[in-house]
Amino acid sequence: MKTILSYLKRLVYSLILLLAVITLNFLLVHMAPGDAVTAMIGDMGGATPELIAELRVEYGLDQNLFIQLYKYITKMATGDLGISFTHNLPVMDLVLEYLPATILLVATAFLLAVFIGTVLGIIAAQKPKSLFNHFVTVLSLSGYAAPVFWTGLMMLIAFSYYFPIFPAFGMRNAGFQGTMLEGVFDVFKHLVLPAVTLASVYIALYSRLARASMMDVLGSDYIRTARSKGLSQRVVIYKHALKNALLPVVTMAGLQVSQLVAGAVVVETVFGWPGIGQLAFNSILRRDHPLLLGILFLSTLMVVVANLITDFAYRLLDPRIK
């Protein structure tokens, strides 16, 4: 019962967080110079003062700020994020169309980073003086220091130009025709470079974190006990140490989701990956604010959901947390 209550509390808290994000969006739009009507008139190429006033009434811009905020929140709650004026489509439809590509990219990069990072870190932790450990140090330092868009462009130069193994742009070959299996393979070929690029930063992070955490755990008393029982290295590492060493990695992974989503914006622009990052970039170029803010809201929603999942995963891994 108590557990359920604590889960509920987290849930309510997440909802409040989302409400705050909506309010922030609203305030930003209000603080920015010009409003929706001004932008529309700009597109139409001017209008009479009467028409402007009429449009303001129609869009509720003549009302009290709090009433506007209330209307904005109720609209958002029903999934109505407004209309993108460059695409002439509801923001929600547009984002839902582009979201699957982003989720595919972010999820692949995330799993790749957590898996490779943890494996590297754990192997390195077992032999602190080895060459491999130094290799992990160099890898993690460079992965962190290289701007992600530059890593992507370098990958393009290397693996699509000088060694044309992978396609440079998009998610599918234009005019692709073939069986479903070939279709999956086509997407996979396009996915490799962007996913590895996005993962590179986080492989660096997780390998460092997993190594530090593993070394810490390996020095603790209960591991000494396990060893003195005569257990093999393998059992000590994978049955006793691993679970505890993973805790900080899980926490960090949850916190990093928001950075991954943001990183996807850059990576998608570099590789022309048709996700919401690409959509956000184009909406900035065309000053399509409803679309941009809709994307900000929905990606924050993704982060909040991911944080909830991590939180629950953490509770499963560590029963002490109530």
């Binding site: 928001s258 850059v266 970039f281 170029l285 000053r287 803010l293 900000l296 924050t300 944080n307």
Partner: protein, 291 residues
């Protein structure tokens, strides 16, 4: 991330300065980082004097490969890449430092108040911090810049607004730990004011981990500025390394050098500051070395 408690008798700020320097300069990686930064700083200050051309100026044939005429080649408009890199150093440093400065001011104030007062103040400020943590940083910065007009000040502010949370959390954690120590209690018993305990007694003792975090923030700020400029959201009058890469990426197949060299400059600068940060960490917080 370590489970080991940090023993109270080790007041890290009291470690003799000489000892800290000895440890820092005994670290080869840290010295390498320091040399890299010396190079960047010298380039930023002396570069424009030695190499006084305008980076926006077209000086040669477009897309001349690196060679005798232009050491690092020219871009699609015939602008010299080397001039761009030299002039970009000062832009990078200016934005990196001022954004870090703002980040630290916001983060430290929130962290200090939160950690020192605790209770509802802490609760409120930490909820506020969490709110900023769930916003995807780069996307939020992009929104801020695109809603208002891009300028160096707005970019600095946007970077600070999305990156102060780490510093705030760290400061808070240090304050929570230090405020229970005997010497703080003694100050309080002697009737010291809250303000003076916060800023004159606790903060100096919280500095060692903070200095490391600040060094790392400089790197983060530089990467941020680069990404924003790459996306075309930088100050249009600032010739930064990120801008150089962003403006030439359409020509990636014809002139690899216009992308590779500025990116390498960013890479070395950020690498330098992270090596310095790691070195400082080892020297200032020997107990936390494995972090």
């Amino acid at each position: 991330m370590t489970n080991r408690p940090i023993s109270d008798e080790v007041v890290q700020a009291d470690r003799p300065f000489v000892e800290i320097c000895r440890m820092f300069f005994g670290n080869k990686a840290a010295i390498f980082g320091l040399l890299l930064w010396l190079l960047v700083i010298l380039t930023a200050f002396l570069g424009p004097a030695i190499y006084p051309s305008d980076p926006f100026e077209m000086v040669g044939a477009p897309m001349t490969p690196p060679g005798e005429e232009f050491l690092l080649g020219t871009d699609y408009l015939g602008r010299d890449v080397l001039t761009g890199i030299i002039h970009g150093a000062s832009v990078t440093l200016a934005i990196g430092f001022s954004a870090t400065f703002c980040t630290v001011i916001i983060g430290v104030i929130i962290g200090v108040l939160s950690g020192y007062y605790g209770g509802w103040v802490d609760n409120l400020l930490m909820r506020f911090t969490e709110f900023f943590q769930v916003l995807p940083a780069l996307l939020f910065a992009m929104v801020l810049i695109s809603l208002f007009t891009a300028s160096i000040y707005l970019i600095v502010l946007a970077i600070a607004v999305v990156s102060w949370t780490g510093i705030a959390r760290l400061t808070r954690a240090e304050f929570l730990k230090i405020k229970e120590r005997e010497y703080v209690m003694a100050e309080r018993a002697m009737g010291a004011r809250n303000m003076s305990i916060m800023w004159k007694v606790i903060l100096p003792n919280a500095l060692p981990p903070l200095i490391v975090a600040v060094a790392l923030s400089v790197g983060v700020a530089i990467l941020f500025e680069a990404a924003l400029s790459f996306l075309g959201l930088g100050d249009p009058n600032a010739y930064s390394w990120g801008y150089m890469i962003g403006s030439s990426r359409e020509y990636i197949w014809d002139s690899w050098w216009t992308i590779t060299f500025p990116g390498f400059a960013i890479f070395l600068t950020v690498l330098g500051i992270s090596l310095i940060g790691d070195g400082l960490n080892d020297a200032l917080n020997p107990k936390l070395r494995e972090l």
